[in-house]
């Protein structure tokens, strides 16, 4: 476990976590997590449920205060850095019957720029239109949010995050509840977006993610990150009790670099 994140001190850093600990009611959820995210990174954070993935995202957003350690987002506090962060929450958490259109949801991404007591400007509407085009959802903009498929809903939530013109996108389990074809389409979209924005995405699913991201981190209270796409044995040891499950995932590509007997 590196004490100082790799590449510390360079100017293209976007997110930096140093020795971050988070406790919920005395129980550690994140232990000694250090992570450096640089511009145009595309990091997939994998790990089991309850491993602290959502907490990690909330720490970066400043929604959860670490009990120890330091977090900076674009060189400032998470609360101030939020303005440059596009957040895509777990979409299973909101009420899909809510009476709101796709268009109004995407405009919500502009609230931080418009400010209270002001109406949306033409610029806000132009940015929202661009964001919806980027996720190929512009023609469904008047649809009520609940009358979309899961995959379309996910794209709308990404558009809402993009409407804030973020430098970083944080996605919490974007592919949960999607079938593999839609999931691949979503990751293709993220890869395109990655040309402009840095992306950090968490997922409990170790499978397809690794072919799309640039690097993988493994989180199970502790974070293992080597700034590469390979899932190494120490990651699995840290992240999963049972690596067999991973190899038996039934996917066409290889997740592990090599798979050989571990000498005890």
């Amino acid at each position: 476990m590196q004490r100082t994140p790799i590449g510390a001190g360079t100017t293209d850093e976007v997110i930096r976590l140093e020795d971050v600990w988070v406790h919920y009611g005395g129980i550690p959820v994140l232990e000694d997590v250090s992570l450096l995210v640089r511009e145009h990174d595309f990091i997939g954070v994998i790990g089991p449920n309850g491993g602290g993935k959502t907490t990690l995202i909330k720490v970066i957003l400043g929604l959860v205060r670490p009990s120890r350690g330091k977090v900076t987002v674009l060189g400032t506090s998470p609360q101030k850095g939020r303005r440059f962060v596009g957040y895509v929450p777990q979409y299973s958490l909101f009420d899909r019957d809510f009476p709101v259109s796709v268009w109004d949801v995407v405009l919500m991404g502009r609230l931080g720029h418009t400010g209270c007591l002001r109406r949306y400007t033409d610029e806000d509407r132009a940015v929202a239109t661009d964001a919806l085009s980027a996720v190929e959802m512009l023609d469904l903009k008047d649809r009520q949010i609940g009358r979309l498929s899961w995959g379309q809903t996910q794209r709308v939530l990404i558009a809402r995050a993009l409407a804030a013109k973020p430098k970083v996108l944080l996605l919490d389990e974007p592919a949960a509840a999607l079938d593999s074809r839609i999931e691949a389409g979503l990751y293709d979209l993220l890869r395109t977006l990655n040309k402009e924005v840095t992306i950090v995405m968490v997922s409990h699913d170790i499978g397809v993610i690794s072919t799309y991201v640039k690097s993988i981190a493994c989180l199970n209270r502790r974070l293992v990150y080597h700034n590469s796409r390979d899932i190494t044995r120490d990651m699995l040891q840290a992240g999963y009790e049972c690596p067999v499950e991973l190899i038996a995932h039934g996917l066409a590509h290889r997740v592990l670099d090599t798979h050989e007997e571990v000498p005890e």
């Binding site: 957003l61 929604l63 939020r82 303005r83 962060v85 957040y87 929450p89 909101f94 009420d95 019957d97 809510f98 009476p99 709101v100 259109s101 109004d104 949801v105 405009l107 919500m108 991404g109 609230l111 931080g112 418009t114 209270c116 007591l117 109406r119 949306y120 023609d139 469904l140 649809r143 009520q144 609940g146 009358r147 979309l148 498929s149 995959g151 379309q152 809402r160 804030a164 074809r181 839609i182």
Partner: protein, 296 residues
Amino acid sequence: MFEVFQYEFMRNAVAAGMLVSLACGIIGTYVVVNRIVFLSGGISHAAYGGIGLGIFLGINPVVGAVSFSLAASLAMGLVSRRARQGVDIAIGVMWAMGMALGIILIDITPGYSADLMSYLFGSILAVPRSDIVLMGVLDAVIIVVVAILYKEFLSISFDEEFSSVVGVPVERLYLVLLSLIALTAVMAMRVVGLILTIALLTVPAAISRQFTARLDGMMVLSSILGTIFTLVGLWLSYEFDLTPGATIVMVSGAAFALSSVYHSLSRQKLFPTLMQHCHRYRDNGGAESRELPQDD
């Protein structure tokens, strides 16, 4: 039936019913989509403590009710935002204690024997002109605040966490919203009484939600429905000599039951609609139609 309008009390009753329905339509929409029906019930019942306080201090009980329910809404709002568990219990306790305090304050007020039933069950037939003016002012306040904060209220109702990430002051706005609920609840108390306030606040909005997919549409439709229920209830109570507040609530509840049955039946009609869609698809030579929700 129109001869009843020669009485001023009846004209005032109709005006009060319409003004309250407008406020309940707008604010009730937020109560329903935010699922804070229970919390709103707590706010309106705790207002009884304010009535007791008003009587005890010898001031206008409505002034007491407004200030007490505003305080209750802030207390309940902070508890519901900050407490990690037991929020419903805390609200239930404040709800009951608010009412109990009202009863005790009235007990210890010497020589007081006014009709408290009017606060519990409403007294739409005894609304004085001054209260109509007050209701108009409150309606104006509610409309102005909601117009100014519409997009923020929409965002915090839909996704509170995202809203705070983009920099919306979620907690403060939530408390503003609860204050508006408190004001509306005290107004509705005049018409149907505080025990039945929650019906006027939720039923029209709950029905509208079944027929519109827009928040502003819900507000307009709820206000119209609330007005219809209030006037129909008022008329029935006059014809059959019933308590107006209770009759209004029964009319609303019956309408809710009917609309829920209709709604669930019309959902089952989805199948014929799908068939129609398939025929159109075939007639178009297989060209894709975007009229139905597409599942990918």
